[in-house]
């Protein structure tokens, strides 16, 4: 499915650019996007090294285990397939906390770390495990308490009340998150995963 979507985006983009008479824009778009990819990755290396370094400290000091012990029981219900002493749990909790607090660039390193830990417990290395799918569903639909970026945009556009959308945002994400958890649970139960 991903292969098809990727191909369609690329092919439709090129055909539409040709029909609109600006085929040369494809060249600039493709080159610029490739450069941007490197920029994003390099930036991520910096932030990621910082957070993974700190995470290692927290792990060796026993803090991650502590956090997993406090929040683990609630989160674990969503991940019945995880091992009892799973290292993924700590990273998952850190990722969700960062998401909730709106610390986007701290969330990604923890998220990628969680994926690595989940992959260690995955019996089929090239197929997504149910725990991974649950984690990604949670991660992409996670509530953010303060959508700081969009509040900034509203402020600049002279909104009378830039923060009035916080409540609606929380409700909307709450619905999405609830449905993601529910449907994920139903799928797992039906497929006996």
């Amino acid at each position: 499915m991903v292969n098809l979507i990727w191909l369609l985006m690329l092919a439709i983009g090129i055909v539409v650019a040709a029909l609109n008479g600006h085929i040369e824009s494809v060249t600039t778009s493709a080159m610029k996007a490739a450069e941007l990819g490197v920029e994003v990755a390099i930036e991520l290396i910096g932030v990621m090294s910082l957070w993974l370094g700190l995470m290692r400290l927290a792990e060796e000091a026993g803090l991650v285990k502590g956090i997993a012990r406090i929040f683990g029981p609630a989160i674990r219900r969503l991940f019945p397939s995880l091992k009892p002493d799973s290292k993924a749990l700590g990273a998952i909790i850190m990722n969700l906390s960062a998401n909730i607090l709106g610390l986007g660039n701290a969330a990604t390193p923890f998220g990628l770390k969680a994926m690595q830990e989940l992959q260690k417990e995955n019996p089929t290395p090239d197929v997504a495990s149910p725990a991974m799918i649950t984690f990604l569903a949670l991660n992409t639909s996670c509530i953010t308490l303060i959508p700081a970026t969009i509040i900034g945009v509203r402020l600049k556009a002279n909104s009378v009340n830039p923060t009035e959308i916080i409540g609606t945002t929380i409700v909307a994400t709450g619905c999405a998150m609830f449905m993601a958890i529910l449907v994920d649970y139903l799928i797992r139960r039906r497929r006996k995963l």
Partner: protein
């Protein structure tokens, strides 16, 4: 609300302060352990690079070509069919863009907010929608890519379902709260 903003402001400095102190008192060689952990950051960054580039190129070419506008145009009759406000059509490009690209969606949302005004229906809806869903497609491809997963199973459908729920819920709650 102010409390939450304060927590967000203090979270990182406090983590940077408390974690090393606790680790030090638990006899962890703090600096060496930090460096060891940080090394993983480089490896992960390099590993996701090809996935980032692959996705960004396809998304950029698709968006810059104007295909998004054509797609939105085609979806307009659907809005009328559902009996929704015709103004609502302005939100379609954002709804399509949101799962694909974070910076792209922010661009569309910013443009909508400036064009319609932050306190208009479209402005509020765009703000809510931007804050309430994530770049599902992008996150999935990069996260799965980073650990070598090729078969996503039902992950994409589940993620996009959550996005659609987020869209419907955004429309519902914005209409209910503000109108």
């Amino acid at each position: 609300m102010n409390i939450i903003a304060e927590i967000s402001r203090w979270a990182i400095p406090l983590l940077l302060l408390l974690v090393p102190i606790v680790a030090y008192f638990r006899r962890v060689p703090v600096y060496e352990s930090f460096v060891e952990g940080a090394e993983e950051g480089f490896k992960t960054g390099v590993r996701i690079l090809p996935f980032l580039i692959g996705m960004l190129v396809a998304i950029r070419v698709f968006v810059d070509s104007g295909a998004l506008n054509i797609l939105s145009h085609w979806l307009r009759p659907l809005i009328n069919m559902l009996g929704l406000d015709p103004d609502f059509a302005a939100i379609i490009p954002l709804a399509i863009m949101r799962p694909l690209s974070g910076s792209g969606a922010l661009g569309v949302a910013t443009q909508l907010i400036n064009e319609y005004g932050p306190d208009s229906y479209i402005g509020r809806l765009a703000s809510t929608l931007q804050g309430s869903t994530d770049t599902t497609f992008f996150v999935l491809t990069v996260y799965f890519g980073s650990v070598g997963i090729k078969k996503y199973r039902y992950a994409l459908k589940l993620g996009l379902l959550a996005d659609i729920i987020g869209l419907i819920a955004s429309v519902w709650i914005v209409t209910k709260v503000f109108y």
